[in-house]
Amino acid sequence: MKFLVVDDSATMRKIVSLALTGAGHSYAEAGNGREALEAIRSGKPDCILLDINMPEMNGIDFLKVRSGDSSIKSIPVIVLTTQDEEALRAEAIGLGANGFLPKPFQKEALLAAVKTATKL
């Protein structure tokens, strides 16, 4: 599977990518929501792993754009965030996120969330 890892932290992108490649997946990176939209135009991923707090376009704004764009609406999105708040979770799920994982997370939890979101 091909993933798009969207996070403004290079450290987090690296950590997530290590978990993905360890499970045999490939990935592309984006530093915020706007870059994610550009990356999707270059190549549609099978799943998006999305941070919330990012400059330029944050995760919530990206979800809003995605919900109104039929070409990317079907791509599963899992939110990875340091904000483990019920209101944020509800907002993200309400905007169509397929999973919500608070940081820090275990590799197994990430892969399980991916499996659920992509219905592998």
Partner: protein
């Protein structure tokens, strides 16, 4: 008129001064957190000043009879007033219960909830304010200026932390990748070793071949032992044959004795035939034939005896050689086989040890992988702390902005000579640099302009 504006005027002047005093006290602390806290307190106290002004504004509006009108400026001012009261209530929460600032805390609570201080609070604060002379106001103004200069330093130092932690985390991740690569190689090696030893579905495994080799050596050892036993039996038979050959030689010797006696008889017969004369001529022919037969018998006997003698010698040599070589060779072969068997046993033992070690190594690799995953999980805290620091930076920036907004309210409280102010800033900066524990912290402090 003046009497009506006592509280607003008091607030406009007193609260910034109080703020500056708090800030001035915080400079004595070595804690960056206390500095930030003090800056926040001061900024909010600036807002308190604005509240006081706002109250004055409302009083002026009422006095002018426009309090009931839809004046937009008044509405905006009242909205700002409400916001400021909220801030005051929030600020009051920041002061501990029963602390040295309990009077101020109570006053803030009252202003936040009622928009006015109680008589008791005002009475408690007034002596304190009265004690503030011109020097106090000047000190407050200096403290305010210092705070405005110091906050960018704090912002720069705090702002440098995320990049450094990210750099360190990325370095750790690079090492992590190296360790994981080695771990994967170790896992592959142990898997290969186990496959080689155990064979899995492959019948030509090391273990299988070793056992087959051991069985083959045992079979060979038995075969060699059988050959040795056969050789011993053959030697025994050859020895028996030697005895038979000896008996044959003795028989030949008996024939030779008989032939010798027959020759004597023939000689006597020849003498007797000579005595008889012409009549014994025929008898002489027989004697000659007999003599010829004797000679041929002697010659034949000699040849047979020589042949048997040679057989006997060959047989003796064969028996001796067979016994010696067979025993020695079988001893050597059996030794070699014994050693080979021992070597195979050692190999089987080594394989069992290698199998055990490989199994344990595989287990350790699994544990190590689990630990490495734990490291990755822990490294995510870099992102968590980064976002917390970004929050702290936002708070500092907000404090700077609030401080900037409050500063004009202090105009006239006291002015400092520019040169003196710069010297003071340099002194503060020098103290921070001296206290800095890392080169990066020093650099961040020095990079902030005057």
């Amino acid at each position: 008129m003046v009497k009506k504006f006592t509280f607003p005027a008091l607030g406009a002047v007193v609260f910034p001064v109080l703020s500056a005093i708090i800030l001035g006290a915080s400079f004595g602390s070595k804690s960056a957190a206390s500095l930030v806290f003090a800056a926040m307190a001061m900024a909010s106290l600036g807002a308190l000043s604005a509240l006081a002004l706002g109250l004055g504004l409302r009083a002026e509006a009422r006095r002018a009879g426009i309090a009931q009108g839809p004046d937009p400026a008044l509405s905006a001012a009242l909205a700002e007033l409400a916001r400021l009261r909220q801030e005051l209530s929030a600020l009051a929460l920041a002061f501990p219960e029963g602390g040295s600032c309990r009077g101020l805390k109570r006053a803030l609570e009252e202003l936040g909830s009622n928009g006015a201080m109680s008589q008791e609070s005002r009475a408690a604060l007034e002596p304190f304010l009265a004690a503030l002379g011109a020097d106090g106001r000047r000190g407050a103004a200096e403290a305010l200026e210092d705070a405005r200069n110091v906050l960018p330093v704090a912002r720069r130092v705090v702002g440098a932390v995320p990049a450094k932690t990210e750099e360190a985390t990325m370095a750790l991740i690079t090492r992590f990748e190296g360790v994981r690569e080695l771990s994967s190689r170790a896992a592959a090696a142990s898997k290969e070793a186990l496959a080689h030893i155990e064979g899995g579905d492959n019948s030509a495994s090391f273990q299988t071949r070793a056992v087959q080799t051991k069985e083959a050596i045992e079979a060979e050892r038995k075969a060699v032992s059988g050959i040795v036993a056969n050789n011993r039996e053959n030697a025994r038979k050859l020895q028996a044959m030697s005895k038979d050959l000896e008996s044959g030689i003795q028989l030949i010797q008996g024939i030779e004795e008989i032939t010798e006696r027959s020759r004597l008889i023939a000689f006597n017969m020849a003498v007797e035939a000579a005595h008889i004369g012409e009549k014994g001529r025929g008898f002489k022919v027989i004697v000659n034939e007999l003599r010829s037969l004797n000679d041929r018998t002697v010659d034949f006997s000699r040849q047979v005896r020589d042949l048997l003698g040679r057989y006997r010698e060959y047989n003796a040599a064969l028996v001796a050689g067979m016994a010696e070589h067979s025993e020695r060779l079988s001893g050597e072969v059996l030794d070699v086989m014994k050693n080979a068997g021992g070597a195979v046993e050692s190999l089987i033992d080594s394989a069992a040890t290698t199998q055990d070690l490989s199994t344990r190594l595989a287990g350790l690799v699994v544990e190590m992988d689990r630990d490495l995953d734990g490291v990755l999980e822990a490294l995510q805290f870099q992102d968590v702390t980064r976002q917390m620091l970004e929050g702290a930076l936002a708070i500092i920036a907000d404090a700077e902005e609030r401080l900037g907004r409050t500063a004009p309210l202090l105009a006239g409280l006291g002015e400092r000579d520019k040169q003196e102010a710069e010297a003071r800033l340099e002194a503060i900066r020098g103290a921070y640099v001296a206290r800095a524990k890392t080169k990066d912290e020093k650099t961040a402090i020095l990079e902030v302009g005057p």
